[in-house]
């Protein structure tokens, strides 16, 4: 049995004007907004809770529950912050979404802000990608023009202002508290938790931070109901997800499918392996999650099943590598990325990535010893679980995971270099 | 058996020794005949790098190690105008009080730059207490050929690390000129 694709967010991406207000409204855009206003703020939160929507940014935290943490009637302003700082190696789903269908995000922002009683929302978009920034800015402007943003939206009495903020090129700003610091005009470095953003986030006020895909999924849920959304996916991982398949496949791209689809199916949808070489390894959701091999192609892509397989669904953006890839080089590139992006706040991540790259570069140049593999495992262990935020944990992931399946290849590289010398 | 009187027996020892080679060392007349052992702990010396810059960085670790509190050091910062050692710091004041020193050599072990070593010179007697406090000028190693006396700049393009790893082999004309001035 093959799992069918379910185009929802991607349904009209082929339209020439999919990114415009008219294009969006032609297919019923902004109709969820009226339903949301009718349902009331608590009603919206309930629907989202019932739908089982989980955060699409990587951690998979239930969205409705997150909204429920925001204290009500506390006299403080509330904020919605959309995390669209998509910079994970391999992840490319929010950016196409914002390019092709920015209004789904804007509508989601309005509904979500309404639910959490926020009158200010911020969309924080990765600075290196000007195109989605332009598209979302245009969409926000159009929404203002159409009375969908601003004061007393559609006579509901609800006011909302949306600011589209361009990041300044730091992976760490995808970490939610670093994003808040960056948004406040400081250096983007993660904050100490507690207090959690739901209690004291942006400008020390209750703040909800959601991934762009999560927010963009909300209008459809409001429109079609929680049961509709729950009918897709599995019991614990319900719903539809954008799977951005990249790497050695014939047709890399975004495939919108229910959770629980398998990698084998996705590769089939993507036209099979490029150059028809066999698959060597793949990563379910960005470089921060441990790799899997061909043995794991039939595991359903859900939060739970991935965890059981020793990895994570992450952003749900699988990278596929065939046998032409050197796993050693892949690991070096990833860790170099983390070294480059380490914010410097905590010691394990700052110094540990520096050291790992130092050893891996040596390995690349053929000057490593077999004992360096143990050292790298040790360094990874010294970073993992001891760094300030998840960036350190992510940096500690690739090497031990690669070693689990490809120890011989590392040994071979080291020995071969030794022989050459 | 007839006993030899005690007194004659005693003279026998004297008599036998008259034919033995004397072991007395004729110090100081013949001291060149009796050099100290190579590892003898004698007077200290403050060494130089091959271009004449001083090795001492004024870190005071020798003074710290000294069990007799015989060493006094004051550090100072090298400037571009006046450089005595490679790197940031040099020893401005360096004194060893030989009335206190017990020649144990712990200072030598403590020295991180091998600036302080011990010579075999052991003639450390004098007639005035003040004279036995040796100053930096008394302790500095003599200038060997190829060295220019500090202060002068470092060899161009070399770091203090290069000095430490022995990459400097002698004073450059620029350094000699500076030292001359």
């Amino acid at each position: 049995m093959t799992t069918p694709l379910v185009p929802n967010l991607t349904l009209h991406w082929d339209d020439a004007d999919s990114h415009t207000l008219t294009g969006y409204q032609r297919h019923g855009g902004y109709s969820a907004l009226k339903k949301a206003f009718t349902a009331g703020a608590d009603g919206v939160i309930q629907i989202v809770k019932d739908s089982g929507l989980r955060g699409r940014g990587g951690a998979g935290f239930p969205t409705g529950m997150k909204w429920g943490f925001v204290p009500q009637n506390d006299g403080k302003p509330h904020y919605l912050v959309v995390n669209a700082d998509e910079s994970e190696p391999g992840a490319c789903k929010d950016i196409p979404l914002m390019i092709a269908n920015p209004h789904s995000l804007v509508e989601g922002v309005i509904i979500s802000s309404f639910a959490i009683r926020a009158n200010h929302a911020f969309i924080y978009i990765r600075g290196e990608t000007p195109h989605p920034i332009r598209r979302v800015r245009a969409a926000v402007a159009a929404a203002y023009q159409a009375g969908l943003l601003g004061k007393n939206i559609q006579g509901s009495g609800f006011d909302l202002d949306v600011v589209v903020h361009s990041g300044a090129g730091a992976y760490i700003c995808g970490e939610e508290t670093a994003l808040l610091d960056s948004l406040e005009g400081r250096r983007g470095q993660p904050r100490l938790k507690p207090p959690f953003p739901a209690v004291a986030g942006l400008y020390a006020s209750p703040t909800v931070i959601n991934n762009a895909e999560t927010i963009a999924s909300v209008p459809a849920i409001i429109n079609n109901g929680a049961d509709w959304y729950k009918s897709y996916g599995t019991e614990k991982s319900p719903g539809i997800k954008l799977f951005a398949v990249s790497g050695h496949v014939k047709r890399p791209g975004i495939y919108e499918a229910p959770l629980g689809i398998t990698m084998r199916e996705l590769i089939t949808y993507a036209g099979g392996m490029k150059s028809d070489l066999p698959l060597k390894f793949w990563i379910p959701g960005g470089s921060s999650v441990p790799m899997l091999t061909a043995d794991h192609l039939d595991i359903p892509l859900t939060y739970e099943d991935m965890a059981a397989a020793g990895t994570m669904l992450g952003t749900g953006t699988p990278m596929v590598f065939d046998t032409s890839t050197s796993v050693v080089k892949a690991v070096i590139r990833w860790i170099e990325f983390y070294k480059h992006e380490s914010c410097g706040k905590c010691t394990p991540c700052r110094e540990g990535t520096y050291w790992m790259v130092d050893i891996l570069k040596r390995m690349e140049k053929g000057k490593a010893q077999l004992s360096d593999m143990d050292l790298l495992v040790d360094i990874s262990a010294q970073i993992s679980g001891r760094s300030f935020c998840a960036l350190g944990d992510a940096a500690a992931t690739p090497f031990p995971a690669a070693l689990k399946y490809f120890k011989e290849e590392f040994e071979e590289v080291i020995k071969m270099a030794g022989a050459q010398a | 058996m007839v006993e030899i009187p005690q007194v004659i027996r005693a003279f026998g020892t004297t008599f036998l020794n008259m034919f033995k080679k004397p072991i007395t060392e004729q110090y100081p007349e013949e001291k060149h005949l009796y050099p100290p052992k190579p590892r003898f702990h004698g007077r200290h010396q403050l060494n130089r790098y091959a271009d004449g810059l001083e090795k001492c960085i004024g870190c005071e670790l020798c003074a710290w190690a000294c069990p007799a509190d015989a060493i006094y050091v004051e550090g100072e910062e090298n400037t571009d105008e006046e450089r005595f050692s490679p790197g940031e710091r040099f020893g401005k004041v360096y004194q060893i009080n030989y009335l206190r020193c017990i020649m144990c050599g712990l200072c030598i072990e403590a020295c991180p730059t091998r600036a302080l070593t011990m010579t075999n010179e052991f003639e450390l007697a004098d007639d005035e207490r003040g004279k036995l406090i040796y100053e930096k000028s008394d302790l500095l190693a003599p200038l060997l050929p190829g060295m220019a006396p500090a202060p002068h700049s470092m060899v161009e393009g070399f770091t203090d690390r290069d000095y430490y790893s022995g990459k400097v082999t002698g004073a450059t004309p620029k350094q000699i000129e500076e030292a001359g001035n």
Binding site: R386 | C59, E74
Partner: protein
């Protein structure tokens, strides 16, 4: 066990205590206590770098990781607040914790240069120590360490070596949270992360030296101490700062009789653990220009003399003369007490005044009734606990920098509002977010009277500065308002010895401990404490400093005993010089001063490091200290006066040693309630352009001599006016302005700023702006201004 609440810990009562277990030992602590603090109380040392009790936690260095039962990962104990029943396992009982700490230490040493022998921190370095206690024996790193240019200046007196930095962010947090001068920041990211300042903006802070002290490695070092010594050859002594009335506890490190550095002492009730750069770096005056032997004047020239000769010479010059004592505001309590006694008994006069500055009879009345002998009054903690603090004629950052830190702490906690009545805005007022009421000098009393509506039903404190003496009616208005709203008053003088001088009775109407000259009962008590008969205490009213000077000029005073007085501090310095010229002058000094050229006898006394004593800070708190140089043979002022008194035929109950004077003073007790001040009405409102100003913390003060690095961090010397005043007087911003009095002129660059109307603000004693010497007027006096052309 229970942790006692101090200023850094949440206040609590028994109901708020929770019990947690650390390494198997149960500990009862207030809610909100951090695990690392509780461990400290148990004597369990958890290694740390970024943690500092006075700074907000960041949990950046990860050195203090501990295992907490129920948590999957090791947690930073510096950021974990204990909860009821929490089980914490430190490196002492947990393999997880100890291996985490070892790992972090290995990481920290990765990029740390091996230059401990050249590093100033070597020997007292938390990184060295904790590498020994919690690190691996060897390094597994074989790569290249990151390189930065070696020491760079972040300001003139603090150097930064970025290679040594462990990015703990203590300095940046100090700058932001404590000092409020946040130009020090972490820059770049990853292993390239570094502390830095903007290219054109050095770390301008009066508190920058504290960053050197809290740096857990040798990344921040001070220019003054650079490569000077090692901790093992320093003798550390507790001491008290002599620069201002804040009363900071200090640690003075000396070697072979020379002070090499000073650090802030740890006193939670006073300076917490901070001090200002002046207190930290200005100590060369202790060794510079010292007078080493007594000098006597012969044929118009001073020549060295023996002590017996000089004492005899002084005594002969003073015997049966109409004498006066001018003892400036830098004396210890014991010395001030001795001067007070010497004047009364040995010289038979009440002509004694310590105020070598703007002074008024209204101020004297205020000091007599509200300050003298009152003991500990408003405290630092009171400032922190108050709802409103009003500062009048007092700029906290420039004139008592530790008060500024304490006020700022409360302001940051959003528990305190500061109201300022002053002539101009300042960085300090801005950092306190002060409600500034710009007031033309002389018009303060009206502004003060309006405070009633702000202070009604508030826990409020009014701090008045010595500058208020120049404003007629201001002290009276303050007392009236305070009585009406129940506010407490704190008097904050600028110099360290002024409060002690008031307490010791160095005023014409006062005897020690607030006893009054004109009260027969008070005279008896004092006479018995001194061991003299009551007739020996004169009843004839004495003269103030101004009166002494004018009397001397008119030939009505024959001899003057001076100590710690600089004639250039007062506007009438020409008359002062004439007075000294005309009289027999006995000068007790430790270094060359402006008085010496007029002195007939100079008697050298010990510097503050060479003797014990007590300063009384603005709170009225006794700040007792011991000699730093224990082996010094220098005499105290009190001993020298004692010798002269004996020569004059007077003896006292005690031997004038520091300890005996101290107990003699304390036997007098304290004043139980304030006296009644004679309230005066303000004079008519001032018209015309008047002079305002205050002393910059770092200026031409004589105790800052010989400190080039410190002087380079002084604030810009500019004249300030409001834009309206500039317009009205044809002044142009950025041009020079010429400020004229009848006797002189000052030319300075002009800055348009927030200044009271019809007022021009000048720093009082900075380079190129010595108001007393150049203009010879006090603040509040009328001046004329004109544009001085482009710079």
């Amino acid at each position: 066990m229970t942790i006692l609440a101090n200023s850094n810990q949440p206040k609590s009562n028994d109901n708020d205590l929770i019990t947690a277990v650390i390494d198997g030992i149960a500990v009862r602590v207030p809610k909100g206590t951090l695990a690392i603090r509780a461990a400290e109380m148990l004597g369990i040392e958890i290694p740390r770098f970024c943690d500092h009790p006075a700074l907000s936690p960041v949990a950046a260095c990860r050195m203090c990781l501990v295992e907490i039962e129920g948590m999957p990962k090791p947690q930073p104990s510096c950021a974990i607040t204990l909860t009821e029943g929490m089980q914490v396992k430190t490196q002492n009982s947990s393999q997880v914790a100890s291996s985490a700490q070892e790992g972090v230490m290995e990481f920290l040493l990765l990029n740390h240069p091996l230059d401990c022998p050249t590093c100033d921190k070597g020997g007292e370095c938390p990184l060295q120590n904790q590498a020994m206690s919690n690190g691996r024996a060897d390094s597994r790193f074989e790569g290249t360490k990151r390189n930065f240019q070696k020491a760079i200046n972040i300001n003139a007196q603090v150097l930064l070596d970025r290679e040594r930095c462990v990015s703990c962010a203590r300095c940046t947090r100090f700058a932001d949270e404590i000092a409020g001068d946040p130009s020090l920041e972490l820059l770049e990211r990853g292993a390239k992360q570094q502390v830095g300042v903007a290219d054109d903006q050095p770390f301008e802070s009066y508190y920058s030296g504290n960053t050197v002290q809290i740096c857990p490695v040798g990344a921040l070092t001070s220019a003054a101490y650079r490569f000077r010594a090692r901790p093992f050859d320093l003798v550390s002594s507790e001491s008290v700062c002599e620069h201002c009335a804040s009363g900071c506890s200090l640690r003075t490190d000396s070697r072979r009789g020379k002070v090499l550095r000073r650090l802030a002492g740890d006193d939670s009730e006073v300076n917490e653990e901070w001090n200002c750069d002046k207190g930290r770096f200005a100590f060369r005056h202790l060794m510079q220009d010292r007078i080493t032997t007594p000098l006597v004047r012969e044929h118009g020239e001073l020549r060295p003399a023996s002590w017996p000769e000089a004492i005899r010479y002084a005594a002969e010059g003073l015997r049966n003369q109409r004498a006066a004592v001018l003892a400036g505001g830098r004396l210890t309590l014991e010395d001030a007490y001795a001067y007070s006694r010497f004047a009364r008994v040995a010289l038979g006069t009440n002509n004694v005044d310590f105020r070598n500055r703007t002074a008024s009879s209204e101020e004297q009345d205020f000091l007599t009734n509200h300050v003298a002998g009152t003991g500990l009054g408003v405290t630092y903690q009171d400032l922190e606990d108050a709802q409103v603090v009003v500062v009048i004629g007092f700029e906290p950052e420039e004139e008592s920098p530790i008060i500024m830190l304490r006020l700022r702490k409360a302001v940051r906690n959003k528990t305190l509002k500061v109201i300022a009545i002053d002539s101009a805005n300042s960085l300090g007022f801005k950092k306190l977010n002060a409600d500034l009421r710009l007031t033309k000098p002389g018009n303060e009393s009206a502004a003060i009277s309006e405070l009633i509506k702000d202070l009604q039903d508030q826990n409020s404190i009014i701090l008045v500065g010595e500058r208020l003496a120049s404003s007629h009616g201001a002290f009276s208005a303050t007392v009236a308002v305070a009585e009406k709203v129940g506010a407490r008053i704190g008097w904050v003088p600028r110099r360290a010895g002024e409060r002690a001088a008031v307490d010791a009775g160095l005023l014409p109407n006062l005897l020690p401990a607030g006893r009054k000259v004109f009260e027969p009962r008070d005279r008896e008590v004092v006479a018995s404490a001194w061991g003299v008969s009551v007739e020996h205490i004169p009843t004839k009213p004495g003269l103030t400093q101004l009166e002494i000077i004018s009397s001397a000029v008119q030939g009505e005073i024959d001899a003057i005993v001076t100590a710690g007085v600089d004639i250039n501090d007062v506007a009438n310095h020409a008359a002062f010089a004439a007075a000294l010229n005309k009289t027999f002058v006995v000068s007790l000094e430790n270094r060359a001063s402006s008085v010496i050229e007029f002195a007939d006898v100079v008697l050298p006394v010990g510097a503050i490091t060479e003797r014990a004593g007590t300063f009384v800070d603005w709170e009225g708190r006794l700040r007792t200290f011991d000699a730093v140089m224990q082996e010094s043979l220098a005499l105290t002022d009190a001993r020298v006066l004692h010798l002269i008194a004996i020569e004059l035929g007077h003896t006292f109950k005690d031997d004038a040693k520091v300890t005996s004077l101290r107990s003699s003073y304390s036997s007098l007790g304290a004043v139980s309630k304030p006296g009644t001040m004679n309230l005066v009405a303000a004079s008519t409102t001032k018209t015309g352009l008047v002079l305002a100003g205050w002393h910059h913390l770092l200026d031409n003060g004589s105790l800052q001599a010989g400190e080039p690095h410190l002087a380079a961090t002084a604030r810009a010397v500019v004249a300030k006016v409001s834009s309206e005043t500039a317009q009205a007087n044809g002044l142009i911003s950025g041009n020079r302005v010429i400020v004229r009095s009848k006797l002189g002129a000052i030319t300075l660059p002009l800055e348009i700023s927030e200044v009271a109307p019809e007022t021009i603000w000048l720093p009082l004693n900075s380079e190129g702006s010595s108001v007393a010497m150049q203009l010879q007027i006090d603040i509040g006096a009328e001046v004329s201004v004109s544009d001085g052309g482009a710079i």
